[in-house]
Symmetry: C2
């Protein structure tokens, strides 16, 4: 069995990497990051660092042309601003609109690319694609492509479409972010090397949706986030 | 409603385009082709020609880096040869192996990219992604990513993952290739502009899996394939 971990250099996917290495052994694990046109390269740098920390091969692909017409606020060419509020607040305000940090079908795309790419790396073996979606990203359907229903459907599509060779492992899908951090701390995941903030400042902004979630998750575990925040 | 037709310049996807234009009107239809590292550009040229014929915008994306490690016989860097036999013969010979013209999870990837890309083009509208998979491509699981089960799972993933904004239409999924041609002839699909052969010769080879299927489909309709064959 081989494992490809979709790594953004953030808290969730790095925890996934820790879990994959524990489960399958680092000699069977690789990580992959996708540059889809983000406003900054911080997360890719961190994905590189955590792969080096674990001593696993790391691959990067540029798929930014796929989002050339999208105006998602995370994209470099976007005219939208990243909202500095919690997801819960944002959902209340936008009503039936989508949250503006939703990158169109990003996770479906990442999982599909991971499956196709990993097949080339490991043509003869079963492959687990590790995906770091967790319960808090799905609450109130904030990110439709983080829900359990989405992951189940995507797993079926990948499993059927690859003659049962490849499947998704999403070990965090039922965990809240505080539980993710708890698991990661048990596994000594190097959180000091990770980056979650949507902005690309010197420090994490502390105010965007993902910063707020990350901060709370560390606090709930009685631990100070080793990365720190601007505010 | 908008429609994005995944167009390979082949018989099936061009028939899909004819169906999409009839159903939604050409002002609501675009086509997209993906260059994934094929041995030749014939099909992309044809995809361009059929888009011009119908007067619809056409988009091209290069995703060949995703297959950099794959040895699928359709890829330019592959060491494998394209087999000149019908799919039925090939399936008998390979046993539990995959057919060597299977591009790893290609259709999952194409559909995911189509969804992400189309969302950028049409941020405010429902979108149908037209996919030309048909029954003969799924017989004996020759292409696992052409089966009805695959398309259903992928449709669920796309529909859930895009907040119900995007869905797949696969009007040929229950048709044999002869029925596809029949429907296309009724719609006056410009088959003379299409290309199905896996090889990139002057004429279609007439001997690879897809040529054999195409030829039979025209014969079953009592029509000569306007493109012609080497042998």
């Amino acid at each position: 069995m081989k494992a490809l971990v979709l790594s953004s250099g953030g808290l969730d996917s790095t925890t996934c990497l820790g879990i994959a290495v524990e489960k399958y052994g680092k000699e069977n694990v690789v990580t992959a990051s996708l540059f889809y046109g983000q406003k900054h390269f911080k997360e890719l740098e961190c994905a590189n660092k955590v792969a080096r920390y674990y001593g696993v091969p790391h691959y990067e692909l540029n798929i930014s042309s796929i989002f050339e017409f999208s105006n998602c606020s995370l994209l470099e060419h976007s005219t939208e601003k990243i909202v500095h509020e919690s997801y819960a607040q944002q959902i209340q305000e936008i009503g039936s609109e989508r949250i503006n940090t939703y990158v169109p079908f990003r996770n479906g795309l990442l999982l599909s690319i991971a499956a196709a790419y990993a097949d080339g790396l490991f043509p003869k073996e079963q492959i687990a694609i590790f995906f770091g979606g967790h319960a808090d990203d799905a609450v109130g359907n904030v990110y439709a492509d983080c829900t359990q229903d989405f992951v189940s459907a995507m797993n079926s599509a990948i499993n059927i479409g690859t003659y049962k060779k490849i499947f998704i492992e999403s070990p965090l899908i039922n965990m809240h972010k505080a539980q993710v951090v708890k698991r990661g701390l048990e596994l000594h995941v190097p959180y000091e090397l990770t980056w979650s903030c949507y902005e690309g400042g010197e420090k994490q902004c502390g105010e965007c949706g993902t910063c707020i979630d990350r901060r709370k998750a560390f606090e709930a575990n009685g631990v100070v986030d080793p990365v720190g925040y601007e505010k």
